[in-house]
């Protein structure tokens, strides 16, 4: 069950990587915002509480884990999905330690991501 017109924030220092997801999400009626680093993402979260944030781990200045913690401090209800190319168990572990709700490895199937997003949004609704 999904919630219509949710606000999803996509964060990656390579925005092109998010275009596919953006299209998909918009196609589903969601509002999508894109940020290219953790600091900007925090700003968006503070101003305009998204319902869900998708974070890439490896970003300069502030990585995904740091951003995740900061987001959870602002609003624990915001769902966070961590994306990373790193597949170690420790990475998954750390994602959970930092408060992420979901951990996905790159390369990501857009459909899978959308599915996870929808699932988390459904949970939160």
């Amino acid at each position: 069950m999904t919630r219509a017109a949710a606000h999803v924030l996509l964060v990656d220092d390579h925005p092109k990587a998010l275009e596919v997801f953006e299209l998909r999400l918009k196609g589903l009626g969601h509002r999508v915002t894109i940020a290219n680093n953790g600091e900007v993402a925090i700003g968006v979260v503070e101003r305009d509480r998204p319902d869900l944030v998708v974070l890439d781990v490896t970003m300069p200045e502030m990585n995904g884990y740091q951003a995740c913690r900061a987001i959870k401090r602002i609003d624990p209800a915001i769902a966070v999905i961590i994306l990373t190319a790193k597949t170690e168990a420790a990475d998954r572990f750390w994602a959970s330690q930092s408060g992420a709700d979901e951990f996905l490895n790159k390369p990501i199937d857009p459909a899978l991501l959308v599915q996870k997003i929808e699932a988390l949004l459904g949970k939160s609704s």
Partner: protein, 1220 residues
């Protein structure tokens, strides 16, 4: 008829012929006038009779009836010329009535005489006969017509007629006429005023009428109609210079403000000077004073050509205020300056300046002088010099002076020509100027003035001659001598100077000598001094005698000069003279005498040394001492040594000072004997002298050390410094103690001279104290120059006395070091500067802040590693400063490991994110020791809160960074990291797993169960890591024990090693595993197991070792000797040897020590030879025998007399074995 009467008759006839026509003419003229007057009377009568204009016809008829035509015409002409308007009007009417227009027009056209034609033209004009215009114009048109009379009359007539129909004709005439005629036509057109404007403008616009256009412009200007302004402005850009000039002039006459700007532009930019001048004048006419502002602005224009034109305009305007022109005298452009000068001259400025030269007001005179000089320098020199003939002698004198100052030799002939001026100030000034100019050929003229009646002139001449070369004056020696004889002190001095230069030519020089000799006894000190100095450059008996005579001169300067002069003379006379001068000589003179004696008279000195040594005069003996010092040869030592025993302390001190200058052991010996002199000054001199001894000379060092306890503070200070000079670095450890009783300044100087790192640090700390630096400077002021130089070299500073007055305070010091650091190419100097800045300025105020920048620069960019390292250390205390911190952070990446470590150490304890991030980025980079320090610093920073670091490290996408990051976690040893580490041990990367294992092992309470599971890790590194960190117990041993079957020798060896750490209940279990390893295939493993038995805390291990050892294979024995733990185990066994009360244990320990065979084992085994137990002694003998060392054999040999037979037997066997 006689000649006389004939002549008389002819004369009379001639007179008659001359007179008769005259009479006839006069008579006829008289008749005509009478008739004219009659006609005029008739006209007047008729006029009175009627007043209507129509009556003119009646009057005309009357006149025609009663008088002849000529009379009537004359009467009418009279009327036309009358001063009364009514008469002239009547005349005009009569002229018309009498139809004289036609007649006179005809006359104008065809009369043969020009006077008639001119007359006709005039009358036509007077009559106002418009119908005569064509005739008048035709007359003007006639190219053959006389211009000055007829055409002029026609022009005037036309002007009077003011008939507009004449205008086109006149304008047309402008085109055709020559210059002279055009002027008349122009005048005529002017009279038409505004009526002529339009046709003139049309002409102005016609490019084919070049000359006429110019006239048109002029006429328009004369007319002054503003309608012409625009067209005239347009013509300011015409190609024709004359036209532009005329247009400019005309615009000025019209004075229309619309023309101002175009005229200004023309003033400044027109290529033709005349046009610019006219334009400037026009601007002045239009704008008046405002024009000046424009031109002043133009004088400041960056374009020099514009400035030039502005000056021309100023000149053209002839303004009263010449200040702007004067300011242009200082224009940067030479052409502008010259032009300004020229303009000023033209406007009379130079004349005014000349006039002010004689002002009663001094300031005015001075300004005038300056102005004159300025004008001369910028190009008016000739104009200025021309005033050399001015009536005022003051002016002449000043002009002469200025001419000389300006230095242009081309005016010299002019000046020379005035040398016979009546006024002596002028002559003096001229001479002075000629001296400055040094023009060839003027020397002779100046020489003439050496005998001028006036003293100032003679003096000026004498002074001027010094500018000339000796060659030019050589021929005047006699005159110079005469001038000397008659001259004042000034003249005599100059003459001496002049003849002193006659060196090149020997003959002339000889000729000049008598003058010099005479001058050497001149009444004036200055003259004698000059003469003596000059005589010093000459040789010859005469000169020497004169110099010797001056040794007793009343003037000290002369005596000094004579002494110096005699220095090069090797004659007996010179020597005797110098010796004689010693008596009563002041120290400065004595020094000079000694210097001279040491040069030319040295040989004689040494020949008579014995005699001089015994001289009764102390001054002589002092002189001898000083001289021997200056000679600096060992031959003088015996005498000086005897002088050291002289009754006079002054002589003894001098002897010590002299011995200081003589190298060699004899001199030193002599000084050492005088170190205990009863007089403090002598001891100080001795101590100073000893400071020059060769480096490290033991007796000197010892003596100086004693002198640091001298009762005299002066001696103590000197001794300390001298000691530093001689002993150098070797005295550094004792410097504080030795300098305890010396002054602070002396201690600092000594420390600087010693020059070690720590002594220089002391110096830097010392001079940073308030007043310390000043004290050092005062101390050094009296110090040996070599010591002074050594001090400043040591602290890498400039000697203030060498570079000029400098503040001797800390800020100045800091500034010097900062400059040194920035600019010196010497690495040692920069390194020192860094140290100095770190110690001296360390955070104090503004100088501290600036130094931080300098030090930061040095840390990040100095090419020398040493300097950067020092900078890191210097910045460490300032790490709270942002600049310093940034530099230190950058320096963590320095290519030099030492510098990076220095920076890391400086940053240790700084917990700000900037530092943490910078260090994190350095993880894994650099040499191992840098990496270790980076990791430990990071661990320290994040110890209290590891989360930010953990987040950062997990977000890093570079796998190579994770391993060093985990090492940081290992150093943190924070339980908070355990969960993550537990995950990391499952990493796919073996190196990461191994690092995680170590990190887990470092935790306060490591999960040994987890670690034990990792004992089965497929990676050898991981298994090794497990073994490194494992603390064995129960279950863990169970798992770990499986490793005894590990395929890796390293792992099995590590297992054996790690089993030494077993404790408590696991001990026995561990030994079991160890025993299993004793059967290992690898001798390395077996040796490690054996070593573990020895290392075990369980005594059974040792005994087991002893039990096994005899059967141990050779390869294992070798490996055991290479066991890394052998030394530590041997020490432990040696302790047991001395502490155990059980002989078997001691025997086992001895056997084990022998088996391990570490290099120092012989010493460890030696006590066992004295053990109370024979078994132990036997074991010791056996162990020592196995060493196969001569010293061991010697010990064993001593056991041959052991009371126990088994011991003796063991000793004997070991010897046999050795021999066998």
């Amino acid at each position: 008829m006689t000649a006389t009467s004939l002549a008389a008759w002819m004369t009379g006839a001639l007179v008659a012929f001359a007179i008769v026509p005259t009479v006839v003419v006069l008579a006829r003229e008289g008749v005509r006038r009478r008739r004219t007057r009659a006609a005029l009377a008739r006209v007047a009568e008729a006029t009175r009779a009627s007043v209507t204009p129509g009556d003119a016809g009646v009057i005309a008829r009357n006149l025609r009836e009663r008088f002849d035509p000529a009379t009537v015409e004359r009467a009418v002409e009279e009327l036309l010329r009358s001063g009364e308007q009514a008469s002239r009007d009547l005349g005009a009417r009569l002229f018309a009535e009498l139809e004289l227009v036609t007649r006179y027009a005809e006359t104008l056209r065809s009369a043969r005489k020009w006077s008639e034609r001119a007359h006709a033209a005039e009358l036509l004009g007077l009559a106002g006969a418009s119908s005569a215009v064509p005739a008048l114009v035709a007359a003007m048109n006639d190219r053959y017509e006389d211009a000055m009379s007829v055409k002029s009359a026609a022009t005037t007539a036309l002007a009077k007629l003011r008939d507009p129909t004449a205008i086109p004709l006149l304008v047309g005439e402008l085109v055709a006429l020559d210059e002279g005629s055009a002027r008349s036509v122009a005048e005529a057109l002017v009279a038409f005023e505004s009526l002529a404007v339009t046709p003139l403008l049309e002409l102005l616009a016609d490019p084919s009428r070049a000359a006429a256009r110019v006239w048109a412009a002029r006429v328009l200007g004369r007319i002054g109609d503003p309608r012409a302004t625009e067209d005239l402005v347009t013509r300011l850009h015409d190609r024709d210079d004359l036209l532009r000039m005329a247009a400019a002039e005309a615009l000025g006459a019209i004075a229309d403000a619309r023309a101002t700007q175009p005229l200004i532009r023309a003033t400044l930019r027109d290529p033709a000077p005349q046009v610019r001048a006219h334009a400037a004048a026009a601007v002045a006419r239009i704008e008046g004073e405002r024009a000046i502002d424009v031109l002043v602005a133009a004088l400041a224009d960056p374009d020099y050509a514009t400035r030039l034109r502005a000056l021309e305009a100023f000149e053209a305007i002839r303004v009263e205020d010449t200040s702007h022109l004067e300011s242009a005298l200082r224009d940067p452009n030479v052409d502008v300056r010259r032009r300004a000068a020229l303009a000023l001259e033209r406007v009379g400025y130079l004349d005014r300046v000349i006039g002010r030269l004689t002002s009663p007001d001094r300031a005015t005179r001075e300004r005038a002088y300056a102005a004159l000089s300025e004008l001369g320098s910028v190009g008016l020199l000739d104009s200025v010099v021309a005033y050399i003939h001015h009536e005022s002698f003051e002016v002449r004198a000043i002009v002469a002076r200025v001419s000389g100052e300006l230095g242009a030799s081309r005016v010299a002939p002019l000046l020379r020509g005035r040398l016979n001026d009546d006024a002596w100030p002028v002559r003096a000034a001229l001479v002075e100027a000629l001296g400055r100019l040094k023009a060839p050929g003027t020397a002779s003229a100046i020489v003439e003035l050496l005998v001028d009646p006036e003293e100032p002139v003679r003096e000026a001449a004498a002074d001027a001659l010094t500018s000339f070369s000796p060659g030019e004056l050589a021929e005047h020696v006699d005159r110079l001598t005469a001038a000397y004889d008659a001259g004042s002190v000034v003249v005599r001095t100059q003459m001496v100077i002049l003849v002193a230069r006659f060196e090149q030519d020997a003959a002339i020089a000889r000729a000049a000598e008598p003058l010099l000799v005479r001058a050497s006894v001149d009444a004036s000190d200055a003259v004698r001094l000059r003469a003596v100095t000059a005589l010093g450059d000459r040789s010859g008996e005469l000169c020497v005698q004169a110099l010797v005579a001056r040794l007793t001169d009343a003037s000290l300067d002369v005596r000094m000069a004579a002494v110096a002069a005699l220095g090069s003379a090797a004659s007996t006379e010179a020597f005797e003279g110098l010796l004689g001068a010693l008596a009563g000589a002041a120290p400065a003179l004595r020094d000079r005498i000694a210097d001279s004696l040491s040069r030319g008279a040295r040989q004689q000195l040494f020949l008579r040394l014995d005699e001089l040594e015994k001289a009764s005069s102390l001054d002589v003996r002092l002189g001898v001492a000083w001289t021997l010092g200056k000679c600096g040869v060992a031959a003088g030592v015996p005498v000086l040594a005897r002088f050291l025993r002289d009754a006079s302390p002054v002589l003894r001190a001098s002897a010590a000072g002299a011995l200081a200058k003589i190298a060699g052991p004899e001199a030193r010996e002599a000084l050492l004997t005088a170190a205990e002199d009863p007089n403090g000054r002598v001891r100080a001199a001795v101590v100073n002298a000893l400071g020059r001894a060769p480096s490290g000379e033991p007796r000197v060092v010892a003596t100086l050390e004693r002198c640091t306890r001298d009762p005299d503070a002066f001696v103590r200070n000197r001794a300390l410094v001298s000691l530093a000079c001689v002993a150098g670095e070797s005295v550094e450890p004792r410097l504080d103690e030795l300098g305890r009783e010396a002054d602070g300044a002396a201690r600092l100087v000594a420390a600087a001279v010693v020059g070690t790192e720590s002594s220089l640090a002391t110096v830097l700390d010392g001079i940073a104290a308030p007043g310390a630096l000043e004290g050092v400077m005062k101390f050094l002021a009296h110090e040996d120059p070599a010591v002074r130089a050594a001090f400043f070299a040591a602290v890498h500073l400039d000697d203030p006395t060498a570079v000029g007055p400098e503040r001797a305070d800390v800020p100045a010091l800091v500034a010097q070091y900062e400059s040194l650091l920035r600019t010196s190419l010497d690495v040692a100097a920069r390194r020192f500067a860094v140290r100095a800045l770190g110690r001296i300025s360390g955070g104090r105020g503004a100088s501290g802040g600036r130094s931080a920048d300098v030090l930061a620069d040095a840390l990040t960019s100095d090419p020398a590693e040493d300097v950067r390292l020092q900078a890191a250390r210097a910045l460490a205390p300032r790490r709270d400063d942002a600049v310093a911190r940034r530099a230190l952070v950058r320096a963590v990446g320095d290519p030099s490991a030492d510098v990076a470590i220095g920076a890391l150490q400086a940053l240790a304890g700084r917990r700000d994110p900037e530092v943490a991030l910078a260090l994190a980025r350095r993880l894994g980079a650099g040499p191992p020791r840098v990496q270790r320090l980076t990791e430990s610093t990071l661990a320290d920073i994040h110890r209290d809160d590891p989360w930010p670091f953990l987040d950062w490290m997990m977000g890093v996408d570079v796998p190579d960074l994770l391993v060093p990051a985990v090492r940081v976690l290992e150093q943190m040893a924070s339980p908070a990291t355990a969960p993550l580490l537990a995950e990391l041990v499952r990493s796919r990367s073996s190196s990461l797993r191994a690092a995680a294992v170590r990190a887990l092992g470092a935790l306060p309470s490591p999960d040994t169960t987890l670690l034990a599971t990792l004992a089965e890790d497929p990676s050898e590194d991981v298994r090794l890591a497990v073994l490194e960190t494992m603390t064995w117990s129960g279950e863990s041993l169970l798992r770990g024990g499986l490793l005894r079957n590990d395929p890796s020798v390293r792992v099995r060896t590590a297992l054996a090693v790690s089993l030494a750490r077993f404790e408590g209940a696991a001990t026995k279990s561990a030994l079991k595993v160890v025993r299993a390893l004793l059967d290992d295939a690898s001798p390395v493993v077996r040796a490690a197991a054996l070593a573990t038995l020895l290392e075990s805390r369980d005594p059974a291990g040792l005994h087991e070792f002893v039990h096994l050892w005899p059967a141990t294979a050779l390869d294992v024995r070798f490996e055991l000797r290479a066991e890394p733990r052998a030394v530590a185990i041997t020490e432990s066994l040696a302790a047991r040897l001395t502490t155990s009360t059980e002989a078997p244990s001691r025997r086992a320990a001895v056997t084990a020590m022998g088996a391990l065979g570490v290099p120092s084992v012989e010493e460890r085994l030696a006590p066992a030879l004295q053990d109370p137990s024979p078994d132990v002694r036997v074991a010791a003998i056996q162990a020592l025998a196995a060493l196969d060392l001569p010293s061991a054999r010697a010990r064993i040999a001593q056991m041959a007399s052991d009371p126990d037979g088994s011991v003796r037997e063991a000793a004997r066997r070991s010897v046999v074995r050795t021999v066998g």
